[in-house]
């Protein structure tokens, strides 16, 4: 195992634009660096679910369109009936990988390191919802979409994982790397109307 050098954000090329991405009532920041694992477990395999939950410090959410934060700081995103995205701080990646793998060994599952596959953008502020409404067909109204709601959907012309993290509202938008510059550019454009002056 090599001592990993610092990763480079897929949005590195947009760093300057993002640094200035503050419009009236909404901000956009790059939160790409983190550990991410795609986890597949047959939901009928209760033991596997329990084992994973034990390591993660909280059970994998079974309710569609939700995310759960565990006691040891992992965020578990529901992606499908047998699919989750497990995320945590970047530096905990290797360890998480090892322990999960160890616990699930011998059971039918798939644990895939996708830490480097996505960019994550944080969009926050009272106008954040309105910015998203410009490109997302889902109902983002607080009656329907709340903190810990997490969906996979289309935002503009990119597929994203959209996770509301608080009721400012703030969102984390996770998108495949190759679409990230497009999506960030799109978001900056959608925010332009709220920019002063």
């Amino acid at each position: 195992m090599a001592e990993a050098p610092a990763p480079r954000s897929p949005l590195a090329g947009l760093a300057d634009a993002l640094a200035g991405a503050r419009a009236d009532g909404v901000t956009l920041t790059d939160r790409s660096a983190r550990a991410r694992f795609n986890l597949r477990i047959d939901p009928k395999d209760v033991e596997a679910l329990t084992a994973a939950g034990a390591i993660l410090g909280g059970s994998l959410p079974r309710t569609p369109n939700t995310a759960a934060t565990t006691v040891n700081g992992k965020i578990l995103l529901w992606l499908g009936p047998d699919e989750w995205l497990v995320t945590g701080p970047a530096e905990e990646g290797a360890q998480l990988d090892d322990t999960l793998r160890g616990r699930l060994d011998g059971r039918h599952h798939a644990l895939t390191d996708v830490s480097a596959m996505y960019a994550t953008l944080a969009l926050s502020g009272p106008r954040a919802r309105e910015v998203l409404m410009k490109g997302c067909r889902l109902d983002l109204h607080p009656r329907a979409f709340k903190p810990n709601t997490c969906v996979q959907t289309a935002l503009a012309k990119a597929n994203v994982i959209l996770h509301q993290t608080d009721d400012t509202p703030s969102y984390e938008i996770t998108v495949r790397n190759s679409f990230s510059v497009y999506l960030a550019t799109w978001l900056l454009d959608a925010m332009a109307e709220y920019r002063q002056g």
Partner: protein, 1001 residues
């Protein structure tokens, strides 16, 4: 502003605005529309009609306007065909009427009107036939010179557009009394409500009337209600917003004009217009009704307008339609208009009522005010050219004909009212069924098929009290359905307004001559110049369906889509056919309700945001290196890297030489990668690939072809066995998503018993292909701990280890024929790897190469590219790749299809090499091949799929699919005539290192 009343109206007299129309300067006030400001200035002539270039004026005061169409603004911001009745005035506005040259006042094309007898409905189908050659050279160009109304801008649009998606429990369309009370009721119950109205302010018809609600002026009540709605957190009101389309599953779309009314004063950064895509729980349609004109001889002169429009100009804009008006009606309600005019100090010369004994409540008051009342009469002619100057009123006989008694009445405006058509457009778009009510001659909403209800005038409830009550009841019901409130409507406010009164439908007033004789025109469709005679002609010629008549005469096909014309038209058709109105039926209502700009439909998906550009981790490096990118699907891949003044050819040759002689690197990150895990992973691969994977050893890699069950190749790639039950599959760049879906589809729908998980890791791994005889040296410098010799790291195997300081997977596969390593590192280290390779490779002459060089190199080696050597009609056998088709496996996708007759044909197109006799000539890819020279038609025997100047061989090479080609090696054939029938030889499809001696370096 000669016709502006001294006081009254809802305009802001403190703000005077200047504008130019048809070259003349005018003034108006804030709150005016272009139409109201013109009327206040005494101008009725605006533009010219489509076919006969007849003078056109303002007919209505709203969205239904067919006639007063203008070209707004100039230069890049000019906009064609706007309705003057909906253009809000701003300072500095310039506009001109459409379809007139040099001006609406003096239009040179007005001669067409004089030839009108030659131009009845559908005349163009009957002529311009001889001589046939004249159609293209003379007739059609002339027709096209006359075509169209306004002009498209000549420069790109400087403004921006955007979209919003929104959900609500209750969507209320229309902000008149019915809509407002529906929104109030639903909003108070707590539902999420959206109210849209296409006017600048709420109030609907109330704004143009003097009715009172809750003890105050109706417009003021609407203003107050708007305030109440604005205060409700869950209610969103959008004005200047047209709900234009009602689609399936209660999906609706609206079109908001955000800055148009501000003219040049619009704030920068705000989109000009916005498209709203709405998903509604329930919909309340409160879209009101459109007054319908009466059809009489020359009813289209400027100065002739709808009675309700005149009333609105008077009450909303304090503008009189003229000095002396004549009212022509078939109903009681219109008397109110005359009454309002008289009250405001205007003059009404006469009321002409076609009913023999009307009992309009306001009639006595009007008589008292000196207004002449002509009952049982009709307007039989109008006079004046660019403005109506007088009318001939004629007494009707018992059969509806003229009795002979006539009066000439001087006037400068004629106000017509033929009753009201409920605005059922959206209801009908929603796939709701309409019903016909004989008594009032109206189409009404019948059975709905979606979650909606209709309130107010749109539902045929023309009385104000009824509108308010109906709106409230439906609003409360809609909220209840969404789970808010108990469905009890709030009490309706008291009103002071006359009841609508009686009406006798009246479809066609006789003229002085029989219909179609003489010059007079009974205009049905003011925009397209469709007359009652045209409709009768169509019926006479056998066009019986209303849809045929629409298309033959073009009635209702203009920019207004017949809002004022259609019902009159079909009633006239019914009469001509001896049928009833409902038997004739109506033409289909279609979106949009009123026209919507392409810009708004595009939203912000234009320019760089039109479609995502997918970028790799090294994209910024490529950009800085000045690479020319090749679009591959949404990806941008480096195509070639120009150096100094290299042209494409020189750059590609240089890149190829570097790979063959030293080392090159290619950004291969775009290849699809799928991680496949599970005890049945091997079974899955054995089914989806033509060859076997069960025999593949861990740590080894195998190339495979994927076919559909029709036997045709659709993808290829290498798959590595990383563990007993763990594979990494690669796919072509363009097919990555498709292949993953393909696997999932089979797993979920056909073989659910297989225990396999597939996960895309395309963008987890950045991939660099390092190729060339020096590749090993370069890699060794970056991966000192990795054994790279051919024995420890054989061809078609995979190793994990550290490269350039990061964990990597390295594959020994080769798409160039040279010694080659495909190095995969996490995407976030892709750029680091690239930089490290460039640095470490510098002493070995490392050269980045693009997709073009890659294509050349692989073609030299005879490797196919799916999508280039294949086109969806190619089998593995056609490609000469039988070696990769398992004979042992009982079943796999594609196999069965090869037994079919067509797959067994001897003369299928097969992959071969092609060498031009002249080694310098490079055939264009796609070139067709023939057996002999001559004059077309010549049978084709195949086509060139790939073709390049090969720097390695110093000559051109090509791959081709040729009928029965494998058996024809050595034969001479010819390229298509475009190349001058270049002679070529059929060869093996491998030109370089056919033994594979180079792949180990």
């Amino acid at each position: 502003m000669r016709f502006r009343l001294k006081e009254g109206g809802r305009i802001d007299r403190a703000q005077r605005l200047r504008f130019t129309f048809n070259g003349r300067s005018y003034e108006g006030y804030a709150g005016d529309t272009l139409a109201s400001a013109l009327i206040a200035s005494g101008t009725h002539l605006t533009s010219r009609s489509f076919k006969y270039h007849r003078p056109r004026g303002i007919l209505t005061a709203g969205a239904e306007e067919p006639s007063a169409l203008v070209q707004l603004g100039e230069g890049a911001r000019t906009e064609p065909n706007l309705r003057a009745t909906q253009v809000e005035l701003y300072d500095g506005l310039t506009a001109a009427g459409v379809n007139a040259w040099p001006s609406a006042n003096c239009d040179l094309a007005a001669w067409t009107g004089r030839l009108a007898p030659l131009f009845p409905a559908g005349f163009y189908y009957k002529t311009f036939l001889w001589p046939a050659s004249f159609w293209k050279s003379l007739y059609e160009p002339a027709i096209r010179r006359m075509a169209g109304l306004g002009r498209a801008p000549e420069a790109p649009d400087p403004d921006s557009y955007d979209k919003m998606n929104i959900h609500c429990d209750v969507l209320v369309v229309g902000g008149g009394p019915a809509g407002i009370s529906a929104a109030l009721a639903a909003g108070e119950a707590g539902a999420r409500v959206m109210l849209v109205d296409d006017e600048a302010t709420l109030g609907g018809a109330l704004v143009g009337l003097r009715h009172r609600v809750d003890g105050v002026d109706g417009a003021a009540w609407a203003q107050a209600a708007a305030g109440r709605l604005a205060a409700m957190e869950e209610v969103r009101v959008l004005t200047r917003t047209t709900l234009f389309g009602y689609y399936d599953h209660n999906s609706l779309s609206a079109f908001e004009r955000r800055t148009d009314h501000l003219g040049p004063g619009a704030p920068a950064g705000t989109s000009r217009q916005r498209l709203w895509n709405i998903k509604a729980g329930r919909v309340v349609l409160a879209t009101g009704a459109h007054e319908r004109p009466l059809v009489f001889a020359d009813n289209d002169r400027p100065g002739i307008l709808l009675a309700s429009a005149a009333q609105r100009y008077l009450n909303q804009y304090a503008a009189l339609p003229g000095e002396r008006a004549v009212l022509f009606t078939n109903n009681d309600a219109a008397y109110e208009v005359a009454h309002d005019i008289v009250e405001a100090g205007g003059t009404v010369g006469a009321v002409v009522d076609c009913r023999p004994e009307p009992a309009a409540p306001l009639a006595p008051a009007l008589k008292e005010a000196g207004v002449a009342l002509h009952t049982g009469s009709a307007i039989a002619a109008t006079h004046g050219t660019k403005r109506v100057r007088s009318v001939t009123v004629a007494k009707l006989d018992g059969d509806g004909g003229l009795s002979g008694e006539q009066y000439r009445i001087f006037c400068d405006s004629v106000l017509v009212s033929g009753g009201w058509n409920p605005a059922v457009h959206l209801f009908s778009q929603s796939a709701g069924k309409l019903t016909y009510e004989e008594a009032r001659g109206i189409f009404l909403p019948g059975t709905a098929t979606q979650a909606l209800e209709v309130a107010g005038a749109a539902n045929g409830s023309f009385g104000l009290a009824a509108c308010l009550a109906e709106g409230a009841a439906i609003g409360a019901r809609a909220a209840e359905a969404a789970g808010f409130g108990d469905g009890t409507p709030p009490p309706a406010p008291p009103v002071e307004a006359p009841e609508p009164g009686a009406i006798t439908p009246y479809w066609l007033a006789p003229g002085l001559k029989p219909l179609g004789h003489g010059k007079a025109k009974h205009m049905v469709d003011h925009q397209d110049d469709v007359t009652a005679a045209d409709i009768r002609l169509a019926a006479r010629e056998g066009f019986r369906s209303v849809e045929h008549v629409k298309r033959y005469t073009t009635v209702g096909m203009g920019t207004d889509q017949g809002k004022t014309a259609n019902v009159n038209g079909l009633a006239i058709l019914a009469d001509a056919l001896g049928k009833t109105v409902p038997e004739v039926g109506f033409t289909t209502y279609r979106p949009p309700y009123t026209p919507v700009t392409f810009g708004a439909l595009a939203g912000r998906d234009t320019g760089a945001l039109m479609d995502p550009v997918r970028r790799t981790a090294m994209h910024v490096w490529h950009e800085a290196a000045g690479t020319v990118f090749e679009p591959v699907g949404q990806w941008h891949r480096p195509w070639w890297y120009p150096k100094r003044r290299d042209d494409k050819h020189a750059a590609v040759a240089r890149e190829c030489r570097a790979v063959r002689e030293a080392a090159g690197i290619l950004d291969a990150s775009t290849l699809g990668k799928i991680d496949i895990k599970g005890p049945d992973a091997t079974t899955l691969l054995d089914m989806v690939y033509t060859n076997a994977f069960s025999t593949l050893k861990v740590g080894r890699v195998r190339y495979g072809l994927m076919c559909g069950d029709d036997g045709m190749v659709f993808d290829d790639g290498t798959t590595a066995r990383l563990g007993e039950n763990h594979y990494l599959m690669t796919t072509t760049t363009g097919n990555a998503a498709h292949v993953l879906e393909w696997l999932e589809e089979w797993l979920q729908t056909e073989w659910p018993e297989l225990k396999v998980y597939c996960t895309s890791v395309t963008e987890q791994w950045a991939t660099v292909a390092l190729a060339g005889p020096r590749a090993r040296d370069v890699l060794a410098a970056l991966a000192p701990e990795m054994a790279l010799d051919a024995h420890s790291f054989p061809f078609m195997s995979v190793k994990e280890g550290v490269v350039a300081g990061v964990n990597a997977r390295v594959f020994r596969i080769s798409f160039t024929g040279e010694l080659s390593f495909e190095i995969n590192v996490p995407w976030s280290h892709g750029r680091r790897l690239w930089d490290a390779l460039m640095e470490a490779g510098a002493e070995h002459g490392i050269t980045p190469y693009g997709t073009e060089a890659m294509h050349v190199l692989r073609a030299e080696r005879g490797f196919i590219i799916v999508g280039q050597e294949t086109d969806g009609t190619t089998t593995p056998h056609d490609l000469g790749m039988d070696w990769i088709v398992s004979k042992k496996k009982a079943d796999f996708l594609g196999k069965r299809a090869w037994n079919r007759e067509d797959s067994r044909r001897e003369d299928r197109k097969q992959l071969v090499g092609i060498l031009t006799d002249d080694p310098k000539k490079v055939l264009p890819e796609g070139t067709q091949l023939v057996d002999k020279r001559g004059q077309p038609p010549i049978p084709m025997i195949g086509h060139v799929t790939s073709s390049y100047a090969s720097p390695t061989l110093g000559r051109s090479i090509a791959l081709a699919l040729v009928k029965g080609g494998r058996a024809r090696k050595g034969e001479t054939i010819y390229a298509a005539p475009e190349t001058g029938f270049l002679p070529c030889k059929i060869t093996e499809p491998v030109f370089y290192d056919s033994e594979g001696a180079k792949r180990d370096g």
